[in-house]
């Protein structure tokens, strides 16, 4: 017991006092925020040049409404973002458009918009541009065009409709989704907040399990290659060594998760009120104490199961390259539920979700996802915990034996059947 504590102490102190631990802890959430918001920000960034659009309008009625609709789109310096150049029809629409193409090619024109005589016909509106990938601009133009065209349709149908009426008629119909909770009443929740709220947690679970599993494996490989292992085994038994390492690295993981939990809690208290109603507020409100408690339970279950598996990989391999092969199936078991998050969040009580969440190797990830979205029946949670604990116990027993035999094997790498034989011996 003393030796286990001493091994634990060294593992914990060596890892927690490293700068890389703190940098990693700080960078990981930042990275997640950046990765999710950066693409949106980049799309919204837009150029800072006025874009000229040539309008070839066979109806000859859309120029004024279109200019009016686009007039509120301004650049930073206040000049309009779009300049519309009215080009008279010369011959057909196509030939007029073709005569303008050289100007588009050399960049003088952002695009050419053609409008057929009959605006109700299919393909009545066409936009030719050099960079149709500028989603923001094409979307702004399209929405302006839509309003302008609808006004024209009203006029054509002899319905007097000014902008105010059109706006009213075009107002979106939103449906708010509220989840009926067990305690009675309902909470405002939609798929997106459910998805992101769950995803954030699952991501942290996935990353920490993978990170610490691999840290365990690396640690053992390093001790093997530097021959520290033999010195250690001169002082402690393989079981003591394995237990000490698993607990020590686990404690590092808990420290990190604890830092995240406290941060999320603080964020919720200080920013929850300010942001309530927004999507971010919705996501923050999903960080409840119950969820944190379940997170802790499934983190621990998953941690012991996966770290023992990774320990076996470390024990039977001689280098990280070798370990890649053995590590892959374990990593996949962690990754598959991640990839399928959208399914489990969407259908948390489907038969597939229930069955998968009861398979020990998937339980920590999948059962936790289900809990996040919709509380499963208590017996299912209890059963999953019992099954996973039993499975982890078996893995541990096997791992201790594999550890003992594999740890001093240098040279020849054992085959999977050999490893299984060790585990049972």
């Amino acid at each position: 017991m003393h030796n286990v504590l001493m091994i634990l102490r060294r593992e914990y102190l060596e890892r927690v006092t490293k700068k890389s631990f703190w940098i990693g802890t700080a960078v990981f959430p930042l990275l997640m925020v950046v990765l999710t918001t950066l693409p949106m920000m980049l799309v919204g960034l837009g150029g800072n040049d006025q874009k000229t659009i040539a309008l070839v309008d066979a109806t000859d009625k859309l120029y004024d409404p279109l200019v009016k609709e686009l007039s509120d789109k301004k650049l930073k310096d206040g000049t309009p973002r779009y300049a519309i150049e009215k080009v008279p029809l010369a011959g057909t629409l196509e030939s007029t458009e073709q005569s303008l193409e050289p100007r588009a090619r050399n960049g003088k024109l952002f695009g050419i918009l053609t409008v057929a005589k009959d605006i109700d016909a299919k393909d009545a509106f066409t936009f030719y541009g050099k960079t149709v990938g500028d989603i923001r601009s094409t979307e702004e133009i399209q929405s302006a065009l839509r309003r302008a065209a609808i006004e024209l349709r009203f006029a054509n149908a002899n319905i007097a409709a000014d902008k105010g009426v059109v706006d009213k008629l075009l107002a979106p119909v939103d449906m708010e989704t509220r989840e009926i909770s067990k305690e009675g009443g309902s909470t405002k929740k939609n798929f997106l907040t459910a998805y992101f709220g769950t995803f954030a947690f699952v991501m942290v679970l996935f990353m920490t399990l993978l990170l610490y599993g691999i840290a365990m494996m690396r640690g053992i490989l390093e001790e093997k290659t530097s021959r520290v292992m033999e010195v250690l085994l001169g002082s402690v038994s393989p079981q003591e060594l394995m237990t000490g390492k698993i607990l020590g690295i686990g404690l590092v993981g808990l420290t990190q998760v604890g830092i995240y939990a406290v941060t999320a809690g603080v964020l919720r208290v200080y920013m929850g009120a300010k942001m309530s109603g927004t999507d971010m507020g919705g996501i923050l409100s999903t960080f409840t104490l119950t969820k944190l408690a379940f997170f802790l339970i499934f983190f621990l279950l998953g941690y012991f199961m996966y770290v023992a598996l990774f320990a076996c990989v470390g024990a039977v391999c001689n280098s990280e390259q070798e370990a890649q092969n053995y590590q892959a199936p374990i990593t996949w078991c962690l990754m598959l539920p991640m990839i399928a998050t959208i399914f489990f969040v969407g259908q948390p009580d489907s038969t597939i979700s229930v069955v998968v969440s009861l398979i020990p190797i998937f339980t920590p990830m999948v059962m936790f996802m289900r809990i996040c979205v919709q509380m499963p029946p208590a017996w299912q949670i209890a059963l999953s915990i019992v099954l996973t604990t039993a499975f982890t116990w078996l893995v541990f027993r096997g791992a201790a034996k594999i550890f003992r035999i594999g740890i001093l094997m240098y040279g020849k790498r054992p085959t999977i059947p050999e490893i299984m034989r060790w585990a049972r011996s």
Binding site: H2, M6, R10, R227, V231, L232, L233, G234, V236, L408
Partner: protein
């Protein structure tokens, strides 16, 4: 219990290769015991089994009367042949950690570690990282790691390899000092001269089998005083062709001549008298070096000779 360590019919095979093939051996308490043998003889495997790092296929091992499987590690300090220290840790931290594994509290282990750093004349390096040290320095740290906690038995696998003469001496003095205080020292080596000077009792292993064991003096006696040490000036090439010479271990101006049974040393003296300028002629028991070569070189390994009784 008389023996510090005793092995009974110990066998360990790796796949088809029998690394240790039925060794029965008693290592007496309080002695300096030499576990000798050529490279690959099974010395390190035997030691690893004593440490319960690997387990024998058959046979039993006991340490201070207790089966080795009952966690006897804390009675035994171990310096493995392949040195291994956490490279990124500071010297004092490594030693404190190793010391704490002998049952001491981290604080107490730190104090003891400091003491050993001073005894081994490396106290100035306490705050350096292990990777910054030279090989010889690391060896000292490793030695300190083995002796921390003052174990009653100390197993040293090739302790002198890669050390300069000054440090070899320092090590030797520390080992002798520990032995005087009652520590049983087991050391494994293929350097016969060191073994001959240090060990009171030896066991010679070859191809996983015990070839020879017993107190060094009796082992040598068993070979009889039938060797001649000859120092000379001149060309000694003819020596090996002399009648009565079984084998010769020549170094140019120094030769150890092993005589055939019943051959007369005086006949050798007479034969060389006219042809070489003899500066030294001595009738001795063979050196351990020559016993080693004779036994290991012999083809019929497996014939156990137990010489004398401990």
């Amino acid at each position: 219990m008389d023996a510090a360590i005793s092995l009974r019919g110990v066998v360990k095979a790796f796949d088809d290769f029998r690394a240790v093939d039925g060794i029965t051996l008693d290592i007496p308490q309080g002695e300096i015991f030499g576990l000798l043998g050529p490279n690959g003889a099974g010395k390190s495997t035997t030691i690893r089994m004593i440490m319960d790092i690997i387990r024998p296929d058959t046979g039993t091992i006991s340490v201070l009367g207790k089966p080795s499987t009952e966690n006897v590690r804390h009675h035994v300090g171990y310096l493995p042949e392949e040195r291994g220290l956490y490279k990124k840790m500071k010297v004092l931290d490594v030693l404190s950690f190793q010391g704490s594994l002998t049952g001491a509290t981290p604080a107490a282990a730190r104090v003891e570690a400091k003491g050993w750093l001073e005894k081994l004349e490396i106290a100035d390096w306490a705050d350096k990282k292990v990777e910054e040290l030279s090989k010889g320095m690391q060896q000292k740290i490793q030695f300190a790691a083995a002796v921390l906690g003052n174990p009653p038995i100390l197993i040293l696998d090739e302790p002198f390899s890669g050390m300069d003469p000054v440090n070899q001496n320092l090590f030797k003095d520390r080992i002798l000092e520990l032995n005087r205080k009652g520590t049983t020292i087991v050391f494994s080596t293929h350097q016969m001269e060191t073994a001959e000077r240090l060990c009171k009792e030896i066991a010679l292993i070859n191809k996983g089998q015990l070839v020879l064991s017993g107190p060094l003096a009796k082992v040598k006696e068993g070979f009889g005083r039938n060797s001649v040490l000859l120092e000379y000036e001149g060309d000694g090439a003819f020596l090996s062709a002399l009648p009565g010479v079984a084998r010769i271990d020549g170094y140019g101006s120094y030769s150890e001549i092993r005589l055939e049974t019943g051959a007369d040393p005086q006949a050798i003296l007479r034969a060389v008298a006219g042809r070489l300028k003899v500066t030294k002629f001595e009738i001795v028991a063979p050196t351990l070096h020559n016993i080693f070569i004779e036994k290991v070189g012999a083809t019929n390994v497996g014939v156990l000779e137990r010489v004398g009784d401990a």
